[in-house]
């Protein structure tokens, strides 16, 4: 079994990201990047609810694949939704920033306002892939 210590994992990905930043030709391959771009889902639907302690828990449906995530607030929740998508579609951490980072899938402003409004206890939104600026 792999080591699943969160602290060790954070150190490991920080090291890989740093090396990928300084030596991109060794860690980032254009062919792999194109392949990962294609692999990501086109349509993502999120049904979320807010807990009494302010946490947002969401059910994600990405092109038919269903999974869940949680976030402390609206901003954190969107980051976690994106992170869960990268994890489910097996994208290595060093490629995440090249693919659009933690805001690749972003809700529309009206849906974001509902997510930020603490009086709204549940709602849903669709996420669209943000076009990457070269």
């Amino acid at each position: 079994m792999n080591d699943i210590s969160p602290i060790k994992y954070k150190f490991k990905i920080a090291k890989t990201k740093l090396l990928a930043y300084f030596f991109p030709q060794k860690y980032i391959f254009q062919e792999a990047l194109d392949c990962f771009k294609e692999r990501l889902p086109k349509n993502v639907e999120v049904v979320w609810e807010r807990d009494a302690d302010g946490f947002i828990v969401g059910n994600i449906n990405a092109d038919g694949d269903k999974f869940m995530t949680q976030g402390k607030n609206a901003k954190d929740f969107i980051k976690m939704v994106n992170d869960a998508i990268y994890a489910v579609y097996d994208i290595p951490p060093e490629y995440i920033s090249k693919l659009g980072g933690e805001t690749k899938y972003y809700p529309k402003p009206s849906q974001l306002a509902l997510l930020k409004d603490k009086s709204i206890k549940e709602a849903s939104f669709g996420l669209t892939k943000q076009l990457q600026v070269a």
């Binding site: 699943i4 969160p6 976690m80 990268y86 994890a87």
Partner: protein
């Protein structure tokens, strides 16, 4: 109401999930920036659990319990015992 009455502390969750990896054909991996992926050969995609926060919400544990029990390799009672 779901199967899990309360949110689970991250430490307790990690302890339980390590035991799950020794049962049947489950595999635990890290992925993304803050996720643990639970994999099973019968599933098309892994099930991600965030470990960024100190707690794992009970709704997520309910979702995990449901799909884990569907594999037939562990019952929901056994899974709850692992986690508590």
């Amino acid at each position: 109401m779901g199967e899990f009455p309360n949110d689970l502390k991250r430490k307790k969750f990690l302890h339980g999930i390590k035991k799950l990896a020794t049962i049947g054909r489950f595999e635990i991996k890290t992925g993304g920036n803050h996720q643990l992926e639970i994999k099973h050969p019968n599933w098309k995609r892994p099930f991600p659990i965030p470990f960024k926060h100190n707690i794992v919400k009970k709704n997520i544990m309910d979702g995990l319990l449901k799909i884990v029990a569907q594999t037939g390799e562990i019952t929901s009672e056994e899974f709850k015992k692992l986690m508590f």
